[in-house]
C-alpha cells in the first residue's frame, strides 16, 4: 500500500459568474489536501465543467485568470507547496475588476 494523505474538509465559496453558472454560493468538499484533488472533488459535485473552468490541465495549475484564495490569501502570493488544511475557506473568483 502507498502512503495515503489524510482527508481534510474545506469550504469552497464561489463568486460572480461562477456562482451564477453553478447556482451554488458555497459547498463543503472533502479532499486529500492537494489543490488538484480539491478541485476534482468539487467538480464531482458541481459538474465536470467546473474542473476546466478553474484548472488548466496542460499547465498543471489553476487557470491564470482565476483568482483563487485560501483563507483570504491568493495562492499566487503563497510560497512553497500549497496544502489545504482542515476547515480552510477557499474563495474562487472569475476575472473581475472595478474601482
Amino acid at each position: 500500500m502507498g502512503m495515503t494523505l489524510a482527508e481534510v474538509s474545506a469550504k469552497i465559496m464561489l463568486f460572480a459568474t461562477l456562482r451564477k453558472k453553478y447556482g451554488v454560493k458555497d459547498l463543503t468538499v472533502k479532499c486529500d489536501g492537494t489543490l488538484f484533488d480539491l478541485i476534482e472533488k468539487a467538480s464531482k459535485i458541481l459538474g465536470e465543467h467546473f474542473f476546466d473552468d478553474v484548472y488548466d490541465k496542460n499547465q498543471g495549475k489553476v487557470r491564470e485568470n482565476i483568482i483563487f484564495m485560501i483563507n483570504g490569501r491568493n495562492i499566487k502570493d503563497l510560497e512553497g507547496k500549497i496544502k489545504i488544511k482542515n476547515n480552510d475557506v477557499i474563495a474562487i473568483f472569475p476575472p473581475i475588476a472595478g474601482g
Binding site: 476575472p95 475588476a97 474601482g99
Partner: protein
C-alpha cells in the same frame, strides 16, 4: 486646434480662445491642460501679490475648469465618454480640486464646439451657461435655484433642446456649499470628489448645458480606424471589460476585497465586514438590477440601473450604487440593509453629494457618537449608531441642506472630528476621505493614498489592480517591497488617461503602447510609450508644484494614525500596519522629490517652466 470658453461670472462676460498646440504637446488635454492653466492663474495671482495659500476655495479667485481631451467624443476611441474638472483649490481639502465623470456631457461639450470651459469670478445671482452649436450664452437661473439634480437636468434639457444635449449641474448640496458637494451630469453621473459642486455653488453657477453636432477631428483616420478596431476587440474579448464589468458593475469587488481582509468596516476599525455578502455586487445583481446604462461610446457599460421594489426605502428607478458608494454608505457605516444603501446613494445623486466623502463622514460621526464625543443637543435625536439604516439616509439629506446635525456633516470628516476633539478618527488624507481599500491589507494603495495630490484617492494610482486583481500581473498585497514603482507608474499613466480623456477601466484591457498608438493617430503626433509616460509624469509633477504652493509637502503625504499604528485586528492581514515611511522613501527617490517636493533637476528633466 480646439476652442476654450472663458467665462468671467463677476463681469458677466464670455470669451472664446484657441487652445495651444504647444501646450497640448506637453500636457495633452483634459486634466493635463487644466493643470497647466491653473498654474498660469497662480503665477498671475502671485505677480499681483496674492499668495496661493491665501486663495479662498469658495472665493472669487478660485477658478473652475471643465476639460476634455484629444480622445473624448471620438467615435471608436475606447470608452471616451468622459470629462475632467479641476479647481485651484478644493473647499474640502485646500489642495487642488480634481474630479472626473462619465455619461454624455464630455463628448457633447465637444460636439457643441468647445474643448474646455473656464469659470472665473462669481455671479451675484444664479446663472447657467448654454453652449449650443458653437455659441455660448450666460442665462438667468433664478428659477432653477433650489431644484434638485434630476429636475434641473430635465428642465434645462427641454428648454435648450437640440441634438446631443446634456446638463452638468449642482443640486442643493452645491448651492449650500456642503464641502463634499459634487457636480452631477446626465442625472446619475458625478464628478464626485473634492467638493467641486460647492465651488460651483460659490460662483452661483447652477449648470452648464451643452448641445451640438460638430464632428471631432481625427488627424489620421485610416490609421486610427485600424488601431481602434484592434483595441475595441481586445476590450470585448477581455474577461474583465468584456464580461465581469458588464455583468456585475463595480460592486462585484465587495466580496473579493472583504475576502482579502481589506474592506474597511465601522470607520476602518477592521477590514472584515461580517455582512459583506448582503451588500455585495452579487446581491445587487440578483435583487435590485433592472438594466445597464453605458456612458457615451462605451463597450463596457458598467453602469447599473436599479430599483428598490418595496419598503421604506422604495425607489422606482435609480442608478448605481457603485462599489465605492456601497462601501462608504454600507460598510464603513455597518449598514447591512442594501435597500437603505441604494436609497442613500440615490439621495447623493439627487442632491449632488460625493457618496465616498458622505458615507465616510457619517461613519466618522457614528464612531464619535458611539465613543460619547458628540453632545446630545448637537444630534437633536439623530441616532448615529453603526448599522442604523434610517440614520444613514436621514444624514444624507440633512447634509445637503445643512439641516440640524447636517451642518456639521457638511464640513467633511476632518473638520467634524476636529470640532469634537478627535481628529484621529477622520479617515482622510489631506482632508479627502479615503476610499474602499484598507492599506493594512493592500500596502501599495496606502502609499498611493498618502502621495495622491488631491488627497485620499484610489484612482490616482490604482495599485489594487496588480495587488488584488492580478492585472497586469500579480503582486503580493501585504508586502511593502517594490510598491513604490507601481504607484509611480500608475499615477503617471492615470494622468495620461485623465488627459485623454477616457475611462480608466480601459486599462484593464489596454496597454500603455495601445494608448500611445491611439493618441498618435488622433493627434497626428508620433508618440511613443516613453513620450506619453513623460507627459503623465510632467502633469503629476506640475500638479505637485501647485499643491506645494499651498503648503502641502512631505508631512502631508501621510495616512491616519489608525493605519500606521493600530494593527489590523482580524482576517488575512491580521497584525499588519502600513510601513509607510519605508515605501515613501523609495517613492520619493523614484520621483526625484525631496520632502514631497519635486527637485529643480526633476522639473528641468520634465521641461516644466515655472
Amino acid at each position: 486646434m480646439g476652442k476654450i470658453l472663458r467665462a468671467d461670472l463677476s463681469a458677466g462676460t464670455l470669451k472664446v480662445e484657441r487652445t495651444s498646440e504647444d501646450v497640448a504637446k506637453k500636457y495633452l488635454g483634459g486634466k493635463g491642460y487644466a493643470v497647466y492653466l491653473l498654474y498660469q492663474y497662480l503665477k498671475e495671482y502671485e505677480s499681483k501679490g496674492i499668495p496661493p495659500a491665501e486663495i479662498d476655495p469658495l472665493g472669487l479667485e478660485n477658478v473652475l475648469i471643465f476639460a476634455t481631451g484629444p480622445g473624448t467624443g471620438v467615435p471608436g476611441f475606447p470608452a471616451s465618454g468622459r470629462y475632467h474638472v479641476m479647481a485651484l483649490r478644493s473647499p474640502l481639502t485646500g489642495s487642488i480640486g480634481s474630479a472626473n465623470s462619465g455619461g454624455e456631457w464630455g463628448p457633447f461639450l465637444k460636439f457643441s464646439g468647445f474643448d474646455i470651459v473656464i469659470i472665473e469670478g462669481a455671479s451675484d445671482k444664479p446663472v447657467y451657461i448654454a453652449i449650443v452649436d458653437g455659441e455660448a450664452e450666460l442665462r438667468d437661473a433664478s428659477a432653477l435655484w433650489g431644484k434638485n439634480v434630476f429636475d434641473t437636468a430635465r428642465i434645462l434639457k427641454k428648454k435648450v433642446g437640440g441634438k446631443n444635449t446634456s446638463v452638468a449641474c449642482i443640486g442643493p448640496a452645491g448651492e449650500n456649499m456642503a464641502y463634499m458637494a459634487c457636480i452631477m451630469n446626465d442625472e446619475h453621473r458625478a464628478a464626485g470628489r473634492t467638493g467641486l459642486g460647492a465651488v460651483m455653488g460659490s460662483k452661483k453657477l447652477k449648470a452648464i448645458v451643452v448641445s451640438g453636432s460638430e464632428k471631432v477631428p481625427v488627424a489620421e483616420p485610416d490609421k486610427f480606424k485600424e488601431i481602434s478596431k484592434r483595441c475595441l476587440d481586445a476590450m470585448r474579448k477581455n474577461a474583465v471589460t468584456g464580461e465581469g464589468l458588464p455583468t456585475y458593475g463595480t460592486a462585484i469587488l465587495i466580496n473579493i476585497i472583504n475576502t482579502a481582509g481589506g474592506l474597511p468596516y465601522k470607520n476602518w476599525q477592521t477590514g472584515v465586514n461580517p455582512n459583506a455578502e448582503k451588500i455585495s455586487g452579487e446581491t445587487l445583481a440578483e435583487t435590485y438590477l433592472m438594466g445597464r446604462r453605458a456612458c457615451w461610446g462605451c463597450t463596457i457599460g458598467c453602469g447599473r440601473v436599479t430599483s428598490v421594489k418595496s419598503g421604506p426605502f422604495q425607489i422606482l428607478a435609480s442608478e448605481g450604487p457603485e462599489y465605492e458608494s456601497v462601501w462608504a454608505l454600507g460598510s464603513s457605516t455597518a449598514v447591512k440593509d442594501l435597500d437603505a444603501v441604494v436609497k442613500a446613494n440615490h439621495y447623493c445623486d439627487e442632491l449632488g453629494l460625493d457618496p465616498i466623502s458622505m458615507g465616510s463622514t457619517i461613519a466618522a460621526a457614528m464612531e464619535l457618537n458611539e465613543r460619547g464625543y458628540i453632545p446630545k443637543e448637537d444630534l437633536q435625536g439623530l441616532d448615529l449608531k453603526f448599522g442604523n439604516a434610517a440614520a444613514l439616509v436621514e444624514s444624507v439629506w440633512r447634509t445637503a441642506y445643512k439641516a440640524g446635525f447636517g451642518k456639521y456633516l457638511a464640513l467633511g470628516s476632518k473638520r467634524l472630528c476636529e470640532i469634537y476633539g478627535h481628529p484621529e478618527l477622520s479617515m482622510s488624507v489631506k482632508g479627502l476621505e479615503m476610499p474602499a481599500y484598507d492599506p493594512r491589507a493592500i500596502k501599495g494603495i496606502g502609499l498611493n493614498y498618502a502621495t495622491a495630490n488631491r488627497g485620499g484617492c484610489h484612482v490616482t494610482g490604482y495599485t489594487v489592480s496588480p495587488e488584488i486583481l492580478g492585472i497586469p500581473e500579480k503582486i503580493d498585497p501585504i508586502k511593502p517591497e517594490g510598491k513604490a514603482k507601481w504607484v509611480k507608474i500608475f499615477q503617471d499613466f492615470t494622468c495620461v488617461v485623465n488627459s485623454t480623456v477616457n475611462c480608466l477601466f480601459t486599462t484593464f484591457a489596454l496597454s500603455i503602447k495601445d494608448y500611445a498608438e491611439l493618441l498618435s493617430a488622433v493627434t497626428g503626433w508620433n508618440l511613443t510609450e516613453d513620450d506619453i509616460l513623460k507627459i503623465g509624469e510632467r502633469i503629476y509633477n506640475l500638479e505637485r508644484v501647485i499643491i506645494n504652493k499651498y503648503g502641502f509637502d512631505g508631512k502631508d503625504d501621510t495616512l491616519p494614525k489608525r493605519l500606521i499604528e493600530e494593527e489590523m485586528p482580524e482576517g488575512p492581514a491580521k497584525g499588519q500596519v502600513v510601513e509607510l515611511e519605508e515605501m515613501k522613501e523609495e517613492y520619493y527617490k523614484l520621483r526625484g522629490w525631496i520632502n514631497g517636493k519635486p527637485s529643480p533637476e526633476k522639473l528641468k528633466e520634465l521641461d516644466i517652466e515655472l
